[in-house]
């Protein structure tokens, strides 16, 4: 089924943790704890998701169809098979891209008004 721009727009703006989760999943399948650690690393420990917040967000994204639970395991030797892995959907990718476009537009607008700041 074709995904319209309207379908995508209803998810925007994304919250920062959700955006990071989608970014991580766009690189490959992850389980919950891996997502958490990756976000922690990327944000220099600034976003530390508790498990309630993490699985709450996962639960919501599953319902919204941004991600799905994956049946495949990366390598049974490497990982505990009881862990659940998640995979980004086409809709999830479209939403992440739309968020990037939204952020870019925002940054461009800010640059025009305020100029590009020197790195601190």
């Amino acid at each position: 089924m074709a995904i319209s721009a309207k379908d995508v727009d209803q998810f925007l703006p994304l919250s920062l943790p959700v955006f990071h989760m989608l970014l991580s999943l766009s690189e490959g399948e992850r389980h919950g704890y891996a997502l958490k650690r990756e976000i922690l690393r990327r944000t220099d420990k600034r976003i530390n998701l508790g498990s309630g917040a993490l699985y709450g967000a996962i639960n919501k994204m599953l319902e919204q169809g941004l991600i799905v639970e994956s049946d495949e395991r990366p390598d049974p030797h490497l990982d505990d098979e009881r862990r659940r892995y998640y995979r980004i959907t086409t809709l999830g990718l479209r939403v992440a891209r739309a968020e990037i476009a939204r952020l870019r537009a925002l940054v461009q607008l800010a640059e025009v008004r305020l100029g590009i700041p020197d790195p601190v």
Binding site: G32, S51, G52, G56, N59
Partner: protein, 855 residues
Amino acid sequence: MDVTKLYRRLLRLYPASFRQEYEGAMDRQFRDEQSDAKGWKEKVALWLHALGDVATSAPRELARELSQDLRFALRVYCRRPVSAVIAIGTLALAVGASTGVFSVTSALLLRSLPFGDAPRLVELRFSPFSAGNGRAGFRNWKNHTSYLEDAATFSTSEMNLNSGRDALRVRVTETSANLFSLLEVQPYRGRTFTPEEDQPGQNHVVVISHRLWQQAYGGNVSVIGSVAHLDGAALTIIGVAPSRFDYPGNVDIWVPTVFDFEVIPKHGAFLWETVGRLRAGITMHQARQEFKADVARVDPKSLQPNSTSIPDLVGLGNQLSSQIRTSVLILFSVVLLVLSTASANVAQLLLSRTAERHQELALRSALGASRSRLIQQLTVEATALTLSGAAIGMVVALLVARVASAVMPAQLATQNYTLLDWHVLCFAIALALIAGLVFGIMPSWLIGRIQPSTQVVRVQAGSSEPVTARFRSVLISLQVAFTLTLLVSSFTIGSAFLRLIHTDLGFQPAKAVMLKVSLEGAKYQGEGAKWQYYSALKDRLQSLPGVRAVGAVNYLPLSKNVLMAGTIQVESGRKVSGVVLNGSMPGYFKAVGSRLISGNDFGFDLSKSPEPPVIVNEAFARESGLGNGIVGRRIVSPWTPRPYLVTGLVTTARMAGPEYEGGPQAYWPVEEEPPSALTFVASVSGDPRNYLTRCRDAVVSLDRSVPIYDVKTLNQSLDETMERPRFYTASVLFLAVLALLIAVAGVYSTCSRAITQREHELGVRIALGASIQQIRGMILRQGAVPVVFGILAGIAGAAGCGLIVRHLFVGINASDMTAIIIPSLFLLLIVIGTAWSATTRVLAIDPIEAIRAEH
């Protein structure tokens, strides 16, 4: 405790479905993090972070899941709207009625009085100081009591207030100067009395109520310092009491003149009331002992058990609610009975529905829904139902509270019955939530463990039947029992009420109009002037077209007066005590419709009679031992040494309404000593309501400076007296009918359900040759068992309830067997009729279809 176990416990805060999905992952993640954390600092930080996470995310997930469950519940109820509407309606009525009655209970018994340190305030049901010793005597007594820190004494009566414009009739409390300081009440404007302001010469000051300030003075601050005339006495307004303060009840003016008999002349009965503040640290019990010792010193006779009023010391809160507390508690228990009946019905309804949805629930269970997930869903459905019922019930509650305020008002304005009281709101919400929880959990418990099984596609509808059927029988028994208890109570109360209505009052209220005038503070001073005014008024009323007879009297029946009574000695030497001494104008007996049994009414010119005349009533004649022969005899009153000649004998009027027997009365001509206020009565032809304006105009046209009040028909007066009995009768009857309807609906649905469930079995029986009538009889017999148990329990309940309801009003005979037998038979017939009509379903059973459906 193992910390990971603790964390697992924390996870129980999440809703069922979320937990089922992620509990394992969250638990594992926490353990991983726990083992990754190095040193106690990191471990503490991890815990703090986890706690914060649970605190923020658990409520969010709960709200999300609840809203999903609610949407699902809405869909479920929309599929079967009729039963949902019945359940919500039943709950609305029951929860509403109980919340309404609870608002009264809460106002009287739970809400604290708006006085400083109110629990230490007490009312003395006897004043252990000699009132004759005046201010000095009172102060001396109060300064030397061992149990009171301070005390105030007061007396309340009605007076004429002339504030420059119209004359008003207001309730005035004459008090010692310290009433406000004792209650720790601060004025809204101005000041209250100084301690010395109850001394003669300094006491020409008044505090007015906030209500009077608004209504008569338009809330004008400049009123402070102005002069108000109270029964003719000029007094300076010094302050306005706080809003809603009207202690000791519906009072608009406070004057520090309780010890001064000159400033405002006292007439009629003057009752001293005393309120005190207990010393710090003294218990109620100790205080009561010391009070009794105090009374024993002053008046030992009053403590004897046969004394008319036993001296006592009671908490002010109890004293203020004593009039209606019993009735309110009785009504509250009755209303809880109805609530129980309603709950039993809703429980049955939900039980049947859950049984019907067995297949759906089993399917969901097979698809992975946990047991707690299903219980949560059922509980949310039930709670949504009960909360909607309670929300609609608030309208019913509002109505009940309104009616209650009109019929049995609280003594103080601050004790008004409102739903906006946290006790009341908590009560309603708690009721709805508890009911929702019970209704939600109970069916899931009864249905048993819902297991995904191979039977999913075709679940036996009656698989858990024995338990639910037993439970349903118990519910039916309970319902029948509660309903019978209420029916018997309403029958008992209703027949007492009918007896009251048909009581001979000793006068005829149907065709009479009454009105009161007061000459207090008016220009008519002196006996001659007063008599002239009264005679002129009588003539003026008499001349109105349609008026048949006019008379006047000191105390009119049904007027809620404080009556003066004394002991009168009859010629024979016998003494008649408790005689109400009443003054009447010629024509009174004819106007009020009291029959003269023998002798004559008073004549207009007393100088013509050789001896001062007096008319007595039958009760007096009976107690004097002379019967009808009392006419022509002489009696002596305690106040005048001269004997009076009995010139007439009239029927006994029930002064306080049909509930109470009329006592002995002696009437003498008011002309002898015209009082400053009289009540006029006119008997009229046609509807007496048409005469109210005409009579008022007649009084105003004579002299507009004389205040006229209580202009109404005697029937209105009677209605006011009967208001409480009528309210109790109507409410208990209403509740009984409600309970009956609920029970009928319950019995009907149970019977129909039993037939639907046994369709196969019944089909087989019919196929094997059983007649329809035999089948119906069998179902009826089986259904009759819980009903009979219910009726037996109901009879026991009714006997217990009878002991309670007889306190509602006088004349309720709780030991009347017919009051138990008739409602029991009535209920039995109704229930059998209902069950029989429900069994018509049997006619629709096609034996072949029923058997085929099973294979």
